[in-house]
C-alpha cells in the first residue's frame, strides 16, 4: 500500500531527482543538487558548533584559560577572507598541518613499511608463497624510477621485469574495478529498497 506520509514522498522525490542526473541534466536534478550542497554545509555548521561548544567554550567558561589558544586560533582561520590580514590565517593552518602530518606520518613506518615487510617473509615452500614474494618484489621494482643500474646489459632484463610487474598490477586493478562496481550496486540498492518498501509498500 503506497505510503501516505508526506516526508516519505519528499524523500522519494529527492531520490528520483538525483538519479535523473545520470539520465539527463534537468531542473529537478539541479534543485536536488543545490539542496544537497546547502544541507550538507548546514549540517557541518551544526556538528562543528557542538564540538566547539563542548570541548572549547564550556571548559573555557569553567576557567581553563589554556583553551583560549585553540579558540583564538580557530577564529583566526576566518581572517582568510580579508585581503590585509590573510597571513594571520597561516598560524591555525600551520598548527593543523603540523598536528595532522605528525599524527599520520609517525605511525607510517611501522604500519605501512616494517610490518608489511615482515609479513612478506613467507617460507618459499608452496606455489602461493613463492608467487606472493616474487609478485611483491617485481611490482616494487616497477616503482624504482631513478636509481636504476646504468649499464645496458642489466637494463634489458630489468625492463622485462617491470613489464611483468605492470601485468601483475593491471590484473589486480581489474579485480578492484569489479569490486568498485559491486559496492556501488550495494549502495544504490539501498535506495531501491527505500523506494520499494517504504514508498511503494511492496515486498
Amino acid at each position: 500500500m503506497v505510503s501516505s506520509d508526506p516526508s516519505i514522498w519528499i524523500m522519494a522525490f529527492f531520490t528520483i531527482a538525483i538519479t535523473s542526473l545520470a539520465f539527463r541534466d534537468n531542473p529537478l536534478a539541479k534543485i536536488a543538487e543545490h539542496a544537497f550542497l546547502a544541507a550538507q554545509a548546514g549540517h557541518y555548521v551544526t556538528m562543528a558548533w557542538r564540538n566547539i561548544n563542548k570541548i572549547g567554550l564550556e571548559p573555557l567558561s569553567k576557567g581553563s584559560i589554556i583553551m583560549l589558544i585553540p579558540m583564538l586560533f580557530g577564529v583566526a582561520l576566518y581572517t582568510r577572507y580579508s585581503k590585509k590580514y590573510i597571513w594571520v590565517s597561516r598560524y591555525p593552518t600551520a598548527m593543523m598541518v603540523g598536528i595532522g602530518t605528525g599524527v599520520t606520518v609517525r605511525g607510517f613506518v611501522e604500519f605501512q613499511f616494517t610490518q608489511q615487510i615482515i609479513d612478506t617473509f613467507k617460507p618459499l615452500n608452496s606455489f602461493n608463497n613463492i608467487f606472493f614474494v616474487f609478485a611483491v618484489v617485481i611490482c616494487l621494482l616497477y616503482f624504482v624510477f631513478s636509481l636504476t643500474p646504468q649499464n645496458p646489459s642489466i637494463q634489458k632484463p630489468l625492463s622485462y621485469i617491470s613489464t611483468v610487474g605492470r601485468y601483475l598490477m593491471m590484473f589486480a586493478l581489474g579485480a578492484a574495478m569489479a569490486n568498485t562496481l559491486t559496492q556501488r550496486v550495494g549502495q544504490y540498492a539501498g535506495r531501491i529498497m527505500f523506494l520499494l518498501y517504504d514508498w511503494l509498500g511492496l515486498g
Binding site: 564540538n51 604500519f111 579485480a175 569490486n179 562496481l181 556501488r184 550496486v185
Partner: protein, 279 residues
Amino acid sequence: MDEKNTIWHKLQNIPREILYILLIISMIIPLLYPLGLPLPISAQTKSLYDSLNTLKEEDVILQFVDWGAGSISIHQPGCVAVTYQAISYGAKFVYLSTNTEGPLMYERMVTEDLQSIFDKYGYEYGEDYVFLGYVAGAETALAAIASNIRTAYSDDYYGTPIDDIPLMQNVRNYADYDMIVTYTMGSPESFVRQFNTQYGVVTHVHCGEMMTPNLLPFWASGQITGLLNGAFGAAELEVLIKRPGNAVKLTDVYSFSNILVFVFLAMGNIGFILTRKER
C-alpha cells in the same frame, strides 16, 4: 559484410538510458523475490567471527558509526550483526562517530534494529551501552580517543556529562578498549594506525568492497583482525550468527546486477574485437 557489421555496431551503441533501466530492474527483481542463495564464508569474515567469540562479560567494544546515508544498506546490517553476536557474551558497547552523518545513522539503526536486541537482553542506556556522538578532526581525534577519551568527549550525545555515565567510569583510554570496530567508507587505515599499531588494540574494519584490495595487505599481516568485505562480509556474518537480514538480500541483488554488468563488459568488448578488422 554490411549486415553482420550493423549487428556488431548496434551491440556497441546501445543508448545509456536502456542500460540504466536494465540495471535498476536487475536490482528490483531480487528485492521483491529473494533467492536466499548459499554464501561461501571468506577467511576475513571468519577471523572477525572467531575474534568476537573470545569476548567475555564486561568487555568494552568501541563501535565507530562512521557511515553516511550513502552506505546504510551495507554498513547497518554489519553493525547490527556484530552487536547481536557480541551481546550474547555480555559485552558493553561504546558507540561514537567521526562522520558528521554518524549520529543520525546511529539513531536510525537503534530505532530499526538495535532496540529490540537491547530489550531482549535487558540492556540499559548508560549502563550497558552509550552513544558519545560526533567528534571532528578525523585521525587527530582518533589519536586523542586512544590516549584519553575525555579529551575528545566531555559528554555523551544527549548532554549527560561523561563522568555521570556508569559505563564510562572505567573507560579512559586504550587499555580499557578490548576491541574497536569501524564501519566506514573513509580511511579505516587511520584507525589501525592509532589503535592497533600504537597500542596493539584488536581492530576490526567493515569497509566497502571497493576498499578491500587496499586493506587486504593489512589483514594478511594481522594488523586488521576482522575485515568485512562490504555487503558480502555483513551477509556472511549474518549467516554465521544464523540471523539472515538485509545484507543477505543485498547479495541476492549482486547475483543479478553483477552478471548484467558482466554482459555489458562482454558486449562492449566482443563488438570492439569484431569491428576491429575495419579500423
